[in-house]
Symmetry: none
Subunit: 187 residues, 4 copies
DNA sequence: CATGAATGAGAGTTCATTCAT
DNA sequence: CATGAATGAACTCTCATTCAT
């Protein structure tokens, strides 16, 4: 139970707060309990009624993608850094997100074949394009490495993250996989 | 308390048939709907009562591992081929299995932290060892590539397979990822 | 995943009605069929969905104790009577409750080793203390008879009630047993 | 798993052994797990197939009464002792049986209204008659105490045994109750 | 607009009972 | 006669979704 509408009906003004509380609760529980955490648990954790959850997010997927969007927003902010090594930091944060959240991975796994208008990779491409170009211009990455190659590499790292036996192994194996793919990015 | 056995009771002779039918149904539904497909759906698809499923496979994991074992049996048979290029064929079939079955991937994903005595990677290693040695002896793979590297590569391909948008993309991306990792295996 | 609420949804206002209906149904079925009557039967008899039962009473014991509480509430009301012969009436009603409800007895029987914080006998003691004191002050009971002795006597009567062959025998034998133990209570 | 038919079909000769094994298993499990222990568990413990259990005891009640009969047989043997104090020993053993077996008590409780031809009290009476007469002749019990009074007393002790919170309390309270009722038996 | 209870469809599991071998 | 698997009904419990207030 966090912030948000505990007592009575706080009126329209509460909508934005509620949405934020729901996103925060969902992010936490998706990470902890996985993508299939009960929606009722999310509403409870957010301190709102279940109806509110449904008003803001008609389906589990809508909620999950909204959380996903928060991840993307964070990454986008990182990507706006003009420094040539921002690319490296963006990728590093992406990989961390995969390692951190059970649900973030499961969402993608579970979404397979379900979501037709999945914008994940397009957004990924948009985020990566700028930093990658600046890194390439600074001679930090090979000229033949495009956004698609980076996206594929990230998906490969997902695979390692989801199949690790425990957290320690996950960090170690993800590092190894990352090193393997980034080797090919060197100029 | 009930009336029981209204339909026919085919007797103990049906046991083997039922087991086979359950494995087939499970294999199909794990592939289609993923690891968390309802057990009741598997029993229905197999044309048996739910009690029969529970008799043969007391838990979802028992069933999943039985299906898993079929995969491993198939791969083991391939691995017994003494030809130097058997390694390549074993890896190819493994990759196909990942592409074919959502559940085969999810089983490994789901096993994370759940199954303590999970032998998946050990079995993987056992299967790969012989073919890999013979391939290396024949000069088909680099001398510094060990079983661990191959296993990590396979997990990376899992990631690509599970995150693909559709079957066509999956096949294409998996091929690209496989090519990426096998490039490093060349002598 | 489901379609839900096909029938009417009477809204939150129904909560109190539902709770009452559940208590009534439970009281009836516990009496008729015993403590282990299916919860689904109670929900059906109350005319509510099973989810409603679970919302109000998360466990069988919660429900049973709620019914039990109704009994205790009734007895407590009787015990507040200041007349010296209230003790006699309280005991008489207790004995009736034992005779009336299979479940009331079985609850106590079933609670054995299951409920660690079972307050049944404490409540029993609280109810009996006042009336017993007033009866003793009025010279209606022997001075050496304490609440424990009364509680033990009641448990003995439970035994007779639960082992009687039919309702008639039960009434007769319970009366005999009650007479046997109350003889010792005389001053 | 105890004795009896473990391997193949031992033929007709096994019937008596099986019956004995079933009774022993049932006695043990009724005492341990209560009257509602799964019949399959009894068959397993006896080391026989479930069909055998059904052949010998068509219903749970038949089995339970057969076990009950074993208790009566033991008591009957005790009752054949001509010594004047055999009565005391018979009663003591009866009380022990109540304390020892959850199922023995539950059987009686559960049988209420179910079994029409319940012979329990008649048998009880038969067992008690001889020893009681000899005890009375020896001046060990009051002349106005009949078999019915003893049976009622035993049922009262059942009540105490079934409502005790734990084994220690059970032994203590049963002793108190027994002392209470036997006080009235003194000459 | 928010609340939170109602709803009911199953999922998982257990077992009594039957019956082919 | 014994075996032990098949059968399926019934039970408990969980949620996604709706909707009166």
């Amino acid at each position: 139970m966090t912030l948000a509408a505990r007592g009575g009906n706080r009126g329209p003004a509460a909508a934005a707060d509620n949405r934020r509380a729901l996103l925060r609760a969902a992010r936490e529980l998706f990470a902890d309990k996985g993508y299939n955490v009960p929606l009722s648990a999310i509403a409870r954790e957010a301190g709102v009624g279940q109806g509110v959850l449904y008003r803001h997010f008609p389906s589990r997927l809508d909620l999950a993608f909204a959380v996903f969007e928060e991840n993307f927003a964070e990454l986008t902010a990182l990507a706006e850094d003009e420094a040539p090594d921002a690319f490296e930091r963006v990728v590093a944060r992406m990989v961390e997100l995969m390692v951190e959240s059970v649900g973030f991975v499961e969402l993608v796994v579970g979404a397979r074949g379900v979501v037709t208008d999945y914008q994940g990779d397009r957004q990924l491409a948009e985020i990566l394009t700028g930093p990658l170009e600046r890194a390439r211009a600074a001679g930090l990455t090979a000229p033949d490495i495009g956004v698609e190659a980076v996206a594929l590499a990230l998906r490969m790292i997902y695979g390692v993250a989801t199949t690790a036996r425990d957290d320690d192994q996950r960090r170690a194996d993800v590092a190894a996989a990352l090193s393997l793919v980034t080797t090919r990015w060197r100029p």
